[in-house]
């Protein structure tokens, strides 16, 4: 079934038209019981050049694990046990640490949440941006500083000359987020991973940061994997949207198709949860979900919570089938188009 998916993906997206292609990725976490817990299950995902692909899912669905595994840095003690991540003609998972180091932050960079904790507390903002330029672009101290200043201007930080010498603890959350974006974009990477980047911010600041991120990415023609828990943000921000549940892609579709005609019951439930329609929400939420009754290796990972689940859902894992042009859903009984 996975082979089936992969053929479709491969036909539709030849290497020339993908910025980054994940195939058969499996990430496992060791458990005390011995049997490892699968956090990412044989996942396929391709991102086109210049595209913003939204990845929506609940906490624990595997979003961050996926993001870090792309850079071959799965969260400890996770381990990538299978799969490839093709980027620029090479498989990132087969590269040496040194080769990876050269690509991280230069070709693929990450925008992280909670930036004030992620920045080095003892270095000024200017130094931290300049360090990236020095390491990856081989700039000298002066040129790197100039680039850092330009980046601070680009991310629209007020009074950038003064902020160059500011320490992370002197910044507001929004400003720190802008600095992290500046760090991510200073090398004009071909691929950006944004991991829940705006989750800690006020709604108004959130909108500004998102506009900025999109603008800067477009300017550099960078593709982006935009991870979020907020379906509303995905609706405004992304070209395509994918839903992840239990480490598997449940549905992936262009934005309009995704929001106007969702096909997977889980997607409908997610959208209902974000809507203010209590009737819709009740209809698509199972109150007495018994998690763990279905083996996700065999059946559908969502079957426990799905109001449409039948016996076959627990026995046979549905393939990620193409239901409309570019619209895939992993379901035996997809929701009918309205």
């Amino acid at each position: 079934m996975l082979a089936f998916t992969r053929t479709i993906e491969a036909e539709r997206q030849s290497p020339a038209t993908t910025a980054l292609a994940i195939e058969g990725l499996r990430v496992e976490f060791p458990t005390v019981a011995g049997e490892p817990k699968v956090a990412i299950r044989d996942l396929d995902l391709a991102i086109r050049p210049g595209e913003i692909l939204g990845l929506v899912g609940e906490s624990g669905a595997g979003k961050t694990t996926l993001a870090r595994s792309i850079l071959n840095l799965p969260p400890s003690p996770g381990r990538i046990s299978a799969g490839t991540v093709r980027f620029g003609g090479v498989d990132l998972l087969r590269l040496s640490e040194r080769e990876l180091q050269r690509r991280r932050g230069r070709d693929i960079s990450m925008v992280v949440p909670n930036p004030r904790g992620e920045l080095n507390p003892l270095l000024t903002v200017g130094e931290q941006i300049a360090n990236i330029a020095r390491v990856h672009l081989g700039k000298d101290r002066k040129a790197a500083r100039a680039m850092a200043l330009d980046m601070l201007r680009a991310v629209q930080i007020s009074d950038p000359e003064r902020r160059m010498n500011a320490y992370p603890h002197e910044l507001s959350g929004g400003m720190a987020q802008r600095v992290v974006i500046a760090i991510a974009l200073v090398c004009s990477p071909r691929f950006i991973i944004s991991d829940d980047a705006t989750s800690g911010l006020d709604v108004t600041v959130q909108a500004q940061i998102l506009d900025l991120l999109r603008h800067l990415a477009q300017e550099r023609d960078s593709a982006m994997l935009f991870i979020t828990r907020d379906v509303g943000i995905a609706a405004h921000f992304c070209d395509r949207v994918a839903v992840i549940y239990g480490g598997e892609i449940m549905e992936i579709a262009p934005r309009e198709g995704f929001f106007l005609a969702p096909r997977h019951p889980y997607t409908v439930m997610l959208l209902a949860a974000f809507s203010h329609n209590p009737r819709l929400r009740r209809a698509w939420t199972l109150p007495d979900a018994r998690a763990g009754a279905v083996d996700p290796a065999v059946g559908c990972a969502y079957a426990d919570r799905c109001p449409r689940a039948e016996a076959i859902c627990r026995r046979v894992k549905p393939p990620l089938g193409e239901l409309a042009a570019g619209h895939f859903a992993r379901c035996h009984f997809p929701v009918e188009r309205p």
């Binding site: 840095l73 991280r104 992620e118 080095n120 507390p121 003892l122 990236i132 603890h169």
Partner: protein, 297 residues
């Protein structure tokens, strides 16, 4: 002081001379008043002013403790760093074992073992009798630190003798106290290397040595703290080592004072140590200030 055959009159007159006929608060007040004039009292054992005694002996202790701590840092910090990088490497295992052992070893015992091996058996070290050979004439005291004074006097022979006498006690202190520094370095470094900012730097493709350097800078404050605490503590804490090597330092002076109910040396020593500790902590605060920009705001 007067012996068993003292007459009651002699006892009474000595009591008056020592000020023991006053009440305790008054005695303390007199002590404070004298202290304000730089008079720390007189030791009846040495029959010399305590201030003079301490000024003569404190540099000896300071020299011993400072060099001992330096050795401890030179052993503890690199071992701690090495074991933090490779948590399961061979260096980490040696460091763990050593950290445990150093915590369990009493310094006077280690001193005796070192003397037995390097003086009695191998005869590499000089006899553990003071700071310089009895046959060597010590240089005129300038700083009181023998290694410096001998150099100032240009007396190479005396310098060599002073250094030779320092080796064993310094290594005793260094080896025992490196354990705490090692443990602190290792645990803070591990924490810093697993912290969010180190992880983020790895995500950004920073080379390993740069990540480590930044982590080390963040790990410095706790390491500096433990070193400073040890420094203040060792002024008095090195006394057993001083005893074993007949060092004649301030710690030994104070302990003899305690054993013989000679109170002024004890009080003077406490005062000296307190002032010394204050200076050490002041220096540490200044170092924090230089390391961490969050403090200066």
């Amino acid at each position: 002081m007067l012996g068993p055959t003292a007459t009651p009159e002699a006892i009474a007159s000595l009591r008056t001379n020592l000020g023991l006929d006053h009440s305790l608060p008054v005695q303390f007040w007199i002590y404070l008043r004298n202290l304000a004039h730089g008079d720390l009292g007189t030791s009846w054992q040495t029959t010399r002013p305590v201030l003079e005694d301490l000024i003569q002996r404190f540099p000896a202790t300071l020299e011993l403790v400072t060099l001992g701590l330096l050795v401890a840092v030179l052993i503890g910090v690199p071992l701690g760093l090495a074991s933090a990088f490779k948590e399961k490497g061979i260096v980490a295992r040696i460091a763990n074992f050593y950290g445990l052992g150093a915590g369990a070893l009493p310094d006077f015992w280690l001193a005796l073992v070192l003397i037995f091996v390097f003086y009695t058996l191998l005869q590499w070290a000089p006899a553990p009798l003071g700071r310089i050979d009895l046959a060597v004439i010590p240089p005129p005291p300038v700083t009181g630190v023998l290694t410096i004074d001998t150099l100032l006097a240009g007396d190479w022979n005396a310098f060599r003798s002073a250094v030779a006498h320092l080796v064993l006690p310094v290594f005793t202190l260094g080896l025992v106290n490196a354990g705490a520094i090692l443990k602190m370095t290792q645990s803070t470094m591990e924490k810093m290397l697993q912290s969010e900012f180190s992880r983020y730097e790895v995500l950004c493709g920073m080379p390993h040595n740069l990540v480590v350097r930044h982590a080390l800078r963040n790990a410095l404050p706790p390491i500096v703290t433990i070193i400073s605490v040890l420094y203040g503590f060792l002024i008095g804490g090195a006394v057993l080592v001083e005893m074993v090597f007949s060092w004649g330092g301030a710690g030994q002076y104070a302990v003899q004072g305690v054993l013989n109910s000679d109170f002024y040396p004890v009080l003077g020593f406490v005062l000296f140590s307190a002032i010394f500790s204050l200076f050490v902590y002041l220096a540490v605060d200044l170092i924090y200030f230089a390391i961490d920009p969050r403090i200066s705001h």
